[in-house]
Each structure stands twice: as C-alpha cells, then as structure tokens.
C-alpha cells in the first residue's frame, strides 16, 4: 500500500493526475453537446485527422515542439470536418460513408507521413508514435501544464456559452429567431472539440480520444434528463475515467494510457446502463414487476 502511495508523491505524477482529471472533465462536458447534436462520430474523424497534422509540422520544422504539433493537428482536424460537410453537401455520398472515408484516408495518410519521418529524418523522432495510443508516462512537466491550462480554458469557455449552446442544441430555429449567432456557436463548439482532441492526443492518442467525448456523456444520460446536470455528470465521469486510466497505466507499466482511460469510461457506462436511475436496465425490470 505504501508503495502504491509512493507513486502519487512524485511531482510529475501529481501533475499527470491533475491534467487527466481536467482533460476528462472538459471532454465529458463538451461531449454532452456533441452527443446531443449527433456528432459523436464526426469527433472521431477529427481525432484521427490530427495525426497527419502533427507529422506535417514535424516534417516542415524538424523539431519536436508540442505547440507546433497542436497547430498542425488543429488545421488538419478542421480540414477533415469541412471535408465531411462538403462531401455530404455536394455529392450523393451519405454522412456515414463520408465520415468513414475521412477517418481512414486521413489516418492512412498520417501513417504514411509517420513512416516517411522514421525513414528520412536523422533527428530524434521517437515519441511521435505515442500520439497514436497516448503515453502518459512519456509526458514531461511542460506538456502536462499545457494540458491542464488548455482543459481549464475549454471548461471556462463552455461554461460561459452554456445557455447559448443549450438553446442551439435543442432548438436551433428558436435560437436563430431570438437572434443568437447559431453558425458562430456551431463553429465554437467545433473549435472546443478540436481543443479537446489536440490537448488530449499526447495522453490518450488519436485513435481513442473520441471515446472520452462519447462515453461519459452517454453514461450520464442514464442518470438524468436535464442537460445541465448531464453535462456536469458527464464531466465528472470523464474526470474519473481520465484519472483512473492515468493512474492504472502509471502503476502497471506496460499498459497504454488511452485504452485504460477508455476502459474506465466503458465500465462507468456499463454500470450506468445497468443501474442508471432514469433509464437503467435494472430500473426497467423493477418497474415491469
């Protein structure tokens, strides 16, 4: 037990813990709106599309700089969402196929660039791989600070625009009618999702970060019908998943961080599915008896 506690006394681990808590909270809150707008899988595409952005930045500047990577990831994620919308709007291809195409092609291209870097760069490219599945253990102090501050800002922005987001999610026509800038708000929500993706990729990885946006809010749906409560509960579930994933992968060495966070979130979802106070299976069974 004391060995277990020793792990938490390390300053780096404390930072990782705080970072993963806040990251999980931000993704849970923002994910609630994404879920209700039925954009969960689009967020998955944005996450996968971050990989080529990171690689392009490395190829151009030949240095490992996290802020530069984040800029690259932001650009390609935005290109990905706009491509999905353009495909749906300008061709007969349906939204599900459009998302699938963008996910696989952008990610495939990212892998091409990753292998190109591994073949051709002389510098220290080790660690770019960890963007795929995330590795909390490889984070340095400044990375974690960036995650913490970033997540904090995302939460603040969401809180500031909470009412507006709520209106545009449930009743876009009405929101437009009372003069809310609906397209600006949609764009802002998109930007927040990109924010979660880019600050989360180092810790969770591009493949599974979308799960942190989808699963905690969906679990929260089984406990409440009120959006405000759902967003906060989603945030708490997200924070729990983030922290427990980070701890488990630090305590047991070889375990990848991202998948552990996702499994924690899945466990919370499963328990909510069974015992949730609004739509849980157990409750339904009791009612039927």
């Amino acid at each position: 037990m004391s060995a277990f506690l020793d792990i938490f006394s390390g300053a780096n681990v404390q930072w990782v813990l705080i970072g993963s808590l806040l990251l999980g909270f931000a993704s849970g809150v923002i994910g609630s709106f994404v879920l209700l707008k039925k954009q969960s899988l689009i967020s998955d595409a944005m996450a996968h599309a971050a990989l080529p952005g990171v690689c392009i930045m490395y190829i151009i500047f030949e240095i490992k700089s996290v802020p530069l990577f984040l800029v690259g990831a932001t650009i390609t994620s935005l290109i990905a969402t706009h491509s999905i919308q353009a495909i749906i709007k300008h061709s007969r291809v349906k939204s599900d196929a459009a998302i699938g195409i963008i996910i696989s092609v952008f990610f495939g291209f990212g892998i091409v660039l990753l292998t190109y870097i591994q073949q051709n760069s002389s510098g220290n490219q080790a660690g770019l791989d960890s963007f795929i599945f995330g590795q909390a253990a490889s984070l340095v102090r400044s990375d974690v600070e960036l995650i913490t501050i970033g997540a904090f800002i995302l939460v603040i922005i969401t809180a500031l625009f909470f009412k507006e987001f709520k209106l545009t999610t449930f009743d876009p026509q009405f929101a437009q009618g009372i003069g809310l800038p609906v397209s600006f708000l949609n764009g802002l929500l998109l930007a927040l999702v990109v924010g979660v993706v880019v600050i989360g990729i180092q810790m969770v990885g591009v493949v599974l970060i979308a799960a942190l946006l989808i699963t905690p809010p969906l679990a929260a749906r089984y406990w409440t019908e009120n959006l405000g409560v759902m967003a906060i509960l989603g945030g708490i579930f997200g924070a729990l998943s983030g922290a427990s994933g980070a701890i488990l992968s630090t305590v047991m060495e070889n375990l990848p961080t991202g998948p552990m966070m996702v499994l924690s979130a899945s466990t919370i979802f499963f328990l909510s599915l069974l015992f949730g106070s609004k739509k849980g299976i157990a409750l339904k069974a009791v009612r039927q008896v």
Binding site: A97, S104, L255
Partner: protein
C-alpha cells in the same frame, strides 16, 4: 520480383474482398459499422490467441467472427434501447478496441502481435509466411486466407443476390414479401467480419476500413446499377492497392497507409469528375437550367 508480386496480390485481394463487401454496407448506410467491426476484430484475434495460444488462421477467423457479430449485436441492442446509432457505434467499438489493445500488452513479446501491427499490419512480411505442406511451399498463407474468404463472399452474394438487393434498396417491401431481413443483416456482418480478419493480419485496421468504405463510396458516385457498382468497387480496390504499392515503393513508406491514401485520391477524383454525379457535371447542369 515475386516478393513484390505477392504483396501486390495480397493488396489486390484485400481490395476486392473488402471493396465488394463494403459497397453493400455503403448502400445500406452502415459504413460506420464496418469501421467498428474492423477495430473490434482485434479483440477476437487476441481472444483467440489466449484460448489457442497460437496465431493460427482458423481460431483467429472464429474469434474474429464471433466478436464481429457481437459488435453488430451490441450496437443493435443499444440502438433498440434508445441510444442514438452514432453514439451506440462509438461506445461499442471504442470499448472493445481498447480492451483488445490492453490485452495485447499482456501478451508481451511472445508473438508478433502488438498495437502498431494491429493498426498498420505487416504486409511486407506476408511473402515469407508461406503455407508449407510436406516441405513444399504453396505461397503466402495470407493469400490463401484472403482467397478463400473472397470465394466464400462471392458465393454468398451469388446465392442471396436477390435477397441482398431487395433488402438494401427497399427494406419495407422486402419485409412484406418475406425476405428474411435479420438473416441478411447478420449474413453481411459475418461477411464483413471474415473479410476484416483475413485482411487484418496483413494490412491492419486502417487499410481495412479504407478498403471497406472508400471503393464502395467511389463506385456509388460512378454508377446507379447494383451489379456494376460491385464490379467498380472491386476494380477501385485493385487500383488502390497497385498504385498504393507504387507510392510506398518510391518513397519507402507504410504500404497499408499508402494504399489507403491512394483510395482517397480515387474518391476525390470521382467526386469531381464522375460523369454522372460529379461536382463539375452538376455545376454545368445547374448553370444550363438556371
């Protein structure tokens, strides 16, 4: 030369097998199920390894088949219980995939199965892993596996051609005239799982998703006929594999990634240049009538 030839043949077989099966899913607006299954078969492969302690073809196919159908079943059940379909897909596939990835890290270095392999595959090693009978080599195992799954798929499509076609284009009518829709659904899911697992080992999850969705969507832009669509999907799959290999050879990059990128380029070309549904022809038509 035979080395490169085997890789190209493997890529082409993946393109045809996944392209044909996937185009059915694109038509049924179920592309993301393909994405989900091609991630979750990893769990089936790892599970099969834990049970049989080997990476043999048959246990792997069974394990992946089971997990693939389970994925479809979980998504269906969550959707039926009131969860919107995109979120249902998202939760199920990320959970099962994460479980697969975590279980892989328990296997350690005993076998050539790791997370990177799961995503990118190891098509470059395909030619060395040959089928040996009495000391005689009969070509790569992957080619045999893909070939048999392809023949099985073609056989199933041929047998149930009418049922698949009707239930795809007019599910209501299909139900009325007594086509077993649920059976056709799970038949397709089985075909997707088998195609996925046969391809997975050599090309990884990314290329499987790309080959399942992109050729079908590209063909959908080029034709309105069902049978032609299947043929064009297969052709696009082959073209993507060959040109992808060329790109990978010239720049010395990931073969699977390059094939996926090549498929993306073909889709991009079709979206602009398709003589029937392309962006340019639409613009021309609109300006003529307005």
């Amino acid at each position: 030369m035979t080395y490169a030839l085997w890789i190209i043949i493997t890529g082409c077989l993946v393109g045809v097998t996944c392209g044909v099966t996937g185009s059915l899913l694109v038509l049924r607006k179920m592309s993301m199920i393909a994405d989900a299954i091609s991630h979750t078969v990893l769990l089936g492969i790892v599970g099969a390894f834990f049970v049989s302690q080997s990476l043999n073809g048959i246990p792997m196919l069974i394990g992946a088949g089971i997990v693939g159908i389970l994925t479809a079943f979980f998504v269906e059940s969550l959707h039926a219980s009131g969860v919107q379909s995109d979120a249902a897909i998202g939760v199920v596939f990320t959970s099962l995939f994460a479980l697969g990835v975590v279980l892989i890290s328990f296997i350690g270095d005993q076998v050539h199965l790791d997370t990177k392999h799961a995503l990118m595959g190891e098509i470059a090693f395909v030619p060395w892993d040959t089928l040996q009978v009495n000391g005689v080599s009969y070509g790569p195992i992957a080619v045999w596996m893909l070939g048999s799954v392809l023949i099985l798929n073609i056989l199933l499509i041929w047998l149930f051609y009418k049922e698949i076609k009707i239930s795809t284009f007019d599910p209501q009518y299909a139900k009325i005239i007594g086509v077993p829709i649920v059976f056709v659904h799970y038949l397709l899911m089985t075909m997707v799982s088998l195609s996925t697992v046969a391809s997975f080992d050599s090309v990884g999850a990314i290329l499987v998703v790309a080959m399942l969705i992109v050729p079908g969507a590209t063909a959908y832009l080029l034709t309105d006929r069902f049978f032609t669509l299947l043929l064009i999907s297969a052709l696009i799959g082959i073209l993507s594999a060959i040109s992808g290999y060329g790109i990978a050879y010239v720049w010395n990059v990931s073969i699977a990634g390059a094939m996926a990128s090549a498929a993306g380029v073909f889709f991009l070309l079709a979206i602009f240049l398709s003589p029937k549904h392309g962006y340019i022809i639409r613009k021309v038509r609109n300006s003529r009538y307005s």
